[in-house]
Symmetry: C2
Subunit: 174 residues, 2 copies
């Protein structure tokens, strides 16, 4: 499946690293999409726990945060920067006007689909270049702050909120 960068078949390959990171990303996305298919709009609009962020807010938050990956990974313009104010910079309780749940869902699917397409089209070596929020000087000192690190970090971020969204599902004991 992967050209070997050393010619030694016992050596790991760059493609293998990317496959590991991408497969973990896809597991998270597939779990979240399955949960979205299962929940009614009423369930998704509820608070994940009394006084805590609603499912709608968390989905808007994940849409906004993952949307910043277009910029961080240098994959072109992001789609929904207008979401940052209500879903990143402020909590659910901000009272700021928010898109409807139907709109947020549409943004989520559009953003996820395009992001996946663009990530799939990246060349292996690009994942090891610096992400756009780190300076060349910082990157020289901390070469692990590359695009692949963003992918792994955002996978963890989504997983964190998935642990909360699952509380909206009354049939799930996790």
């Amino acid at each position: 499946m992967s050209a070997n960068i050393t010619g030694d078949s016992t050596q790991p390959t760059v493609e293998l690293f990317i496959k590991i990171a991408m497969s973990n990303w896809e597991i998270q996305n597939s779990r979240l999409n399955k949960l979205l298919d299962k929940l009614t709009d009423e369930q998704l609009s509820a608070q994940t726990s009394p006084g805590r962020n609603s499912g709608t807010y968390i989905l808007g938050h994940l849409t906004a945060v993952n949307d910043t990956m277009f910029t961080l990974l240098e994959l072109g313009e992001r789609l929904y920067s207008q979401l940052d104010e209500a879903f990143i910079k402020n909590p659910d309780s901000s009272g700021l006007e928010k898109p409807t749940l139907a709109e947020i869902k549409e943004y989520w699917y559009t953003m996820s689909t395009l992001l996946k397409q663009k990530m799939d089209a990246m060349q292996p070596h690009e994942w090891f270049t610096k992400h756009s929020a780190v300076s060349a000087d910082e990157f020289e000192k901390e070469p692990h702050r590359n695009k692949l690190n963003i992918l792994i970090n955002r996978t963890n971020h989504q997983s964190y909120h998935m642990g909360q969204l699952i509380y909206l599902n009354n049939n799930e004991s996790d």
Copy 2:
């Protein structure tokens, strides 16, 4: 910081990828340990949301799941396999006898410290060998099912439950 496997300084290195995975693991552990420092035993014993797993249960669950990594990563005998029955195979509501919170905390810290020591002592190439739960035949077909994949997957698992544990902290809006 890392010997380059191709001799080409623009090429990513094996060590870099391990550093990315380990730094994300450490971020999760450090966040969880900070939360444990902050919560009272009463807070930690409470349910993370009405009818959901308690903080004590989730800490026992994370201890048991991470403890299986000694086996999966072939780092020697695991420490606390007796936890699996109450904290992996059964939910909080099982009614099974469980260790006290003080004991679970002690197991958590002992297991985490030893696991970190053993992971730090692994040679880079070992991370790319198969984990113990995959057969040689399966690994031939799916070479990404290596030890590094376990680390990334278990980081996501911990992050998922961290999203729930944070609900025990009354001063935290996430």
